[in-house]
Amino acid sequence: MKILTGNDLKTGAVTWWDGQGWSLHVNDAVDVADQGAHLIAREEAAQNVFAAYVIDGEQTAEGVRPAHIKDRIRALGPTVRPDLTLKPADPAALNWVI
């Protein structure tokens, strides 16, 4: 699947296109098929997101998994500070990234 990711302009937080808006959680990301560029242009113009780009991902049992480790780290947080990630209490989160 193709998913969109970017950052919130005011806070810098990593966000994912969920079909209607920008979520903090990668599992909310939807498949944008070939609409990525169009959505990015529209959403950046409206300042709902910036620095957005399209990435490959796959739907798995645990949710949406970005294809590249860099985006998985963006989705979760720094692997060396689990307490600062989106899943501080989840010991499996690190395995998911790697």
């Binding site: 950052n7 302009l9 005011k10 806070t11 810098g12 937080a13 990593v14 950046e44 300042q47 910036f50 620095a51 294809a67 590249h68 480790i69 860099k70 780290i73 963006r74 947080g77 720094p78 692997t79 060396v80 500070r81 600062l84």
Partner: protein, 542 residues
């Protein structure tokens, strides 16, 4: 250390208001991201992997305790309770909000700090020797010259859209503690035969994709021509540096492509012209700055005795302290590399503790080193034990300066969107694997970069590690024999790369070769230089 006068204060205050207005215009949509990006970069604000990252300048690595305390408070108030000290003596915060940045910068300005030009295609923070003003081997304190250059480079209207970033280092000793020749301009303060102080200029050094050692282009620039000469170097770069290819845009490429002689000729020609333009501050300005860099009020009766009966304290003293030029004092390095820890990170509480200790025991002054540690430059021996005890209780007492545990590592793929691989987990594993062998291995500068941009200075490591992307997976190359001192050399790649466990094993094999082959008194670097790459390659790849 330098204190702002009204002019300096007004400049940073104005800069805060300028940025506040730029943020307003960005949020209202008046400024596009493309137009805003260089403006926020020149205020230190990067878009990084998780959020905006702010890089606060620590000019030539020197801080007061009040400034350090504020850095700790900023970590709590605007970030997630910690900061990261970098290989250019700055501090970075990883979770800053754009809408809060102007207030953060205003808080910094209130203690004479800023994030001016810590990113962007401009002249960056000028770095220096972390032992400046305390070291026995310096000919003079390099920092007043760095301060003069800092003011000259701040908001310099001609040099804010250079082809690429520009990094300057200033030292004043034969021992190069600032990797001076790996900078765009490296300046070594020297004394000529007449006993006069002047500046020796090296231009075109750097790391990254194409590491180069900067050649000397001028043996002696008199002090009253320092700014004019620097201006000439920058103008030639601004006019002729490549702008067609981001990876060939540093001045090192220009110097390399023109050749040292031609670049020097162009600089000298520009310099002769600029001499007529009256752009040099009077020597009185340098003298004014120097008045802030006089020796602190040392206790002349301070005892030179040190009770080393506590073996842990003794180890720390032997490892982490340097002789001070003043009897009764030492230079103490606080390691930010606890075993298994994240190199260069410090919590807000740790930062405030270091601030308090500096206030009470180091004449209110600290330094940030480009090895990502903190220095208390002037500690009385009589106070050293209680300083160490306080540090130790806060996990700041690791006795590993310049050993295999004192790893320099960039933030890597855990934090940086440029990275190909994570660097911190590798540092943590190496730190743990070798904790017990640290003393046996001795002096070791091990440096890790998560990508070719080399922010971990891996080219200059006795052992260097470079993270790469190999078919979508993290992979690590091993380099040996780099050095950043007066004997600057660039590390050589051993061969094919390794995965994360593999690279730790590879480092172990390399140290085993060294321990097996070393002769009396040789450091790893010395043995490598003597026996060459072959025995290491043999051990690594069979």
């Amino acid at each position: 250390m330098y204190k702002y006068d009204n002019y300096d204060q007004q400049m940073v205050d104005t800069r805060v208001e300028e940025f506040r207005d730029q943020v307003r215009r960005r949020l209202s949509g008046e400024l596009s991201e493309e137009q805003f990006r260089p403006l926020r970069l020149q205020n230190g604000l990067y878009l990084q992997l998780h959020a905006y990252m702010l890089r606060v300048a620590v000019p030539y690595g020197t801080l007061s305790s009040a400034q350090m305390r504020l850095l700790g408070d900023i970590a709590d108030k605007y970030d997630r309770g910690y900061g990261h000290f970098t290989t250019r003596q700055n501090i970075q915060y990883n979770w800053i909000k754009l809408e809060e940045t102007p207030d953060l910068l205003a808080d910094l300005a209130a203690v004479e700090m800023h994030a001016i030009q810590t990113s962007g295609n401009c002249i960056r923070n000028i770095s220096s020797d972390q032992y400046a003003g305390a070291a026995a081997d310096e000919i003079i304190d390099p920092r007043p010259y760095a301060e003069l250059l800092r003011q000259w480079s701040s908001f310099h209207p001609e040099f804010l859209t250079l082809p690429r970033k520009f990094k300057i280092a200033v030292i004043a000793s034969e021992t190069d503690r600032a990797a001076m020749r790996l900078h765009d301009i490296g300046i070594k303060m020297v004394r000529n035969d007449a006993g006069e102080i002047g500046a020796q200029f090296y231009v075109g050094g750097g790391m990254g994709r194409t590491p180069m050692i900067g050649p000397m282009i001028r043996e002696f620039v008199p002090l009253d021509q320092l700014i004019t000469y620097s201006e000439a170097c920058l103008r030639v770069y601004n006019r002729y540096g490549r702008r067609d290819n981001k990876y060939k845009a540093r001045i090192k490429i220009l110097v390399h492509e023109l050749g040292k002689e031609e670049y020097t000729r162009q600089v000298e020609e520009e310099f002769q012209h600029l001499l007529s333009q009256g752009i040099e501050p009077p020597i009185a300005e340098l003298e004014r700055i120097k008045t802030y860099f006089v020796d602190p009020a040392y206790d002349a009766s301070a005892s030179d005795e040190l009770d080393l009966s506590d073996p842990d304290f003794r180890l720390w003293v032997e490892r982490n302290t340097e002789a001070h030029k003043q009897a009764g004092y030492v230079i103490a390095t606080v390691s930010l590399k606890p075993v298994g820890g994240i190199p260069g990170d410090a919590s807000a509480d740790q930062i405030r503790l270091m601030a308090d200790l500096a206030r009470d025991y180091s004449f209110d002054e600290l330094r940030v080193t480009h090895a990502q540690n903190i220095v208390f430059p002037h500690v009385r021996k009589a106070d050293l034990y209680k300083v160490w005890q306080a540090l130790n209780a806060a996990e700041l007492g690791t006795p590993n300066l310049d050993t295999i545990g004192d790893i320099i590592a960039c933030p890597g793929l855990d934090y940086c969107s440029l990275a190909n691989a994570r660097s911190i987990p590798v540092a943590q594993k190496i730190s743990e694997r070798f904790a017990a062998k640290q003393e046996e291995i001795g002096e070791m500068k091990l440096k890790i970069s998560g990508c070719i941009n080399a922010c971990g200075h891996h080219h200059a490591g006795h052992i260097g590690i470079l993270g790469v992307d190999r078919k979508g997976k993290e992979n690590y190359q091993l380099l040996l024999g780099g050095s950043e001192g007066a004997d600057t050399s660039l590390g050589q790649i051993t061969g094919p790369g390794f995965d994360e466990d593999g690279i730790v094993n590879a480092v172990e094999k390399a140290t085993e070769v060294y321990l097996d082959k070393r002769e009396d008194g040789e450091r790893f670097l010395d043995t490598y230089r003597r026996i060459g790459m072959a025995p290491f390659k043999e051990a690594l790849y069979g």
